[in-house]
């Protein structure tokens, strides 16, 4: 992470120091192009996927897109703010359970009601858990936050398994499909493009967020929390805010997942899904939004592809690959094509025409 910190300095310096910016213009413009290309390729591939894939693969692709949305929420929290949330599935699953209950008990399946409801559930739980774990008179240790979120997720899993109202071990089966007026979203290209649209919108929002001044403060938080606190930022508040945003996105993903699969079950809030999302982001590359998406596609895709013949040894391969990535490519697969400088990127609005005004 030391290199990343230096890159932040170099880049922030470059924004304000005219001579540095000019002397490296050629180098930077050539180095700046990779990220948009990667994003564009992924978007185009995602757009044409249902046209070339068979129907059952489109259903699978829809699931992957929803999980990518979920991975995005974890990437915001870990990759940008440096909060290790081992319990991201808590927000994902509780929103799923929430919308499942809405559909089962109140017959509410309107898309404009259930998706905001799911997002709100995720946000509320994240505010509660994040507020409890992160805020307070003494700053919490990294270990405490990661184990606290893990424990929260595990406890929710146990609760869902034992609570008869939530369906116990079996969860809530056969949720009615999501509706828009008279139209029912069933599995297939329609649902696919809906979730893809949501993913793109959320992605752009996140991209704006992490490239804003707020994102700069977050990056500083990740690299050196104490220094950010000395600058006068309320580090704990920043953390709680980003944690809540991450929870809201996870809630949105969870409600989509519940309607897409048609059922929710206790694993969805539990440790298994929580660690799975960590795998996605670590593989793809934390700290880049597109890395989370790519990681999800690769892990899910390869696991789908191998699961026919090598179902038993796939988790072992996954573990070995994960270990190799952690040991030798801590920034994930995306770091093969993406330079350090571009990964960190620039922040805030560019100062245009004011160069001479700066002292």
């Amino acid at each position: 992470m030391g290199a990343a910190r230096q890159a932040v300095h170099a880049d922030v310096g470059g924004e304000t120091d005219v001579s540095v910016a000019e002397s490296t213009t050629a180098e930077r413009s050539s180095a700046r192009r990779v990220l948009p290309i990667v994003e564009g390729v992924v978007l185009v591939a995602a757009l044409i996927a249902p046209l070339v894939l068979q129907d059952y693969l489109t259903v699978f692709a829809t699931r992957v897109v929803i999980l990518a949305l979920f991975a995005l929420s974890f990437d915001l929290v870990w990759g940008y703010a440096g909060i290790m949330s081992f319990g991201q599935a808590l927000f994902f699953g509780s929103a799923g359970y929430g919308v499942a209950l809405l559909a089962r008990d109140l017959d509410i399946t309107n898309i404009f009601l259930v998706l905001p409801a799911g997002t709100l559930i995720g946000l509320t739980f994240a505010l509660l858990l994040g507020g409890f774990l992160l805020l307070g008179r003494h700053p919490s240790s990294v270990i405490f936050v990661s184990l606290g979120t893990l424990t929260g997720s595990y406890a929710a899993d146990r609760l869902a398994r034992g609570w008869y109202y939530l369906g116990g071990q079996n969860g809530i089966p056969s949720i009615a499909p999501m509706t828009l007026g008279g139209y029912e979203f069933s599995e297939g290209p329609g649902f696919y493009y809906l979730v893809l649209g949501i993913l793109v919108v959320v992605y752009l929002l996140c991209r704006f967020l992490v490239r804003s001044q707020f994102g700069l403060a977050l990056a500083g938080l990740r690299e050196n929390e104490q220094r950010i606190a000395f600058f006068g930022y309320k580090a704990q508040h920043l953390k709680a805010i980003i944690f809540a945003i991450g929870g809201a996105i996870a809630g949105l993903a969870g409600s989509l997942y519940a309607f897409h699969e048609g059922f929710v079950w206790p694993n969805m809030v539990g440790v298994v899904v929580s660690t799975q999302v960590v795998l996605y982001v670590l593989f793809g590359g934390s700290g880049t939004l597109i890395g989370a998406v790519i990681g999800t596609v690769i892990v899910e895709g390869v696991s789908f592809w191998l699961s026919d013949n090598y179902r038993d040894i796939w988790p072992i391969i996954l573990g070995v690959l994960l270990l190799l990535v952690i040991l030798f490519r801590p920034l994930g697969l995306i770091s093969f094509v993406l330079g350090e400088r571009e990964r960190v990127g620039s922040f805030g609005t560019k100062i245009k025409g004011k160069k001479n005004a700066a002292p």
Binding site: F144, S146, A155, L159, W163, I313, P315, V320, L322, I326
Partner: protein, 285 residues
Amino acid sequence: MANAFVAAFEILSFGAIIVLIVLGLGIIASMMGIFNFAQGEFVLLGAYVTYLAYAKGLPIWAGMVAAPFVVGALGFVLEALIIRRFYAAPIVAMLGTYALGLIIRESVRGLIGGFYLTVPEPIGGSIDLGTMHISAWRFTIIVITILVMAGCYLLLSRTSFGLRMRATLENPSLARASGISTPLMYGATFAFGSALAGLAGALIVPVFSLYADLGIRFLIQGFVAVMVGGVGSFIGPVAGAGVIGTLSAALPWVMAPVVADVLVFVLAIAFIKFRPQGLIAGRGV
């Protein structure tokens, strides 16, 4: 009266099992600052070694004696190859050990399939105290836990090995300057912690039977116990394990098991939040 006694025994024996499992976890967390996510899988390996010995027709005792040595040796090798790279970054250590645990767990799952394999108790039957009967093996576990606990305490506080271990924990550079090989000490500490997990797995396998997710069940409880007890000392995690084990065995007797299950975790997290240093603060033994 008899019921209360049986309940007390159940609570005590479950508390002892949790203490046994947390011992290794606590030593690694306190002495090395690493929360070892693979600890549950070391427990699983200990259980598996015992099962293998039983399946090969050897006496179960032999498997139980072999388990800590096998798992400890594996821990030593893993420390030298992989864990060593993680000391600077505790979060990365969590992820790395999680990956290790995944590999071990899925390998064992591949070897035993999705079955629940039973291993008979080496000391069967029950101890009769008048009208009350208590399981002889669970009683043996309690005794062994107390012996192991005392042994660890003496090892850490009374021997030169323990002294060097604590020196390495407290001030690595000064320890190195005093001629202590700190990498070797870290390796030995990790191997020791793994060996304790292996022993725990070997002892509990007759009670819980062998299945691939055996370790996960105890891992989070173990972490919570270490945090409640306080990281940094030997006695802290043990105390935490006693509290968590007793609570999670005792609460289901007075309320619905589901509520009790969740309540233990909520209470523990709230406790750690307001007392981050844990039950027993400070370093040392």
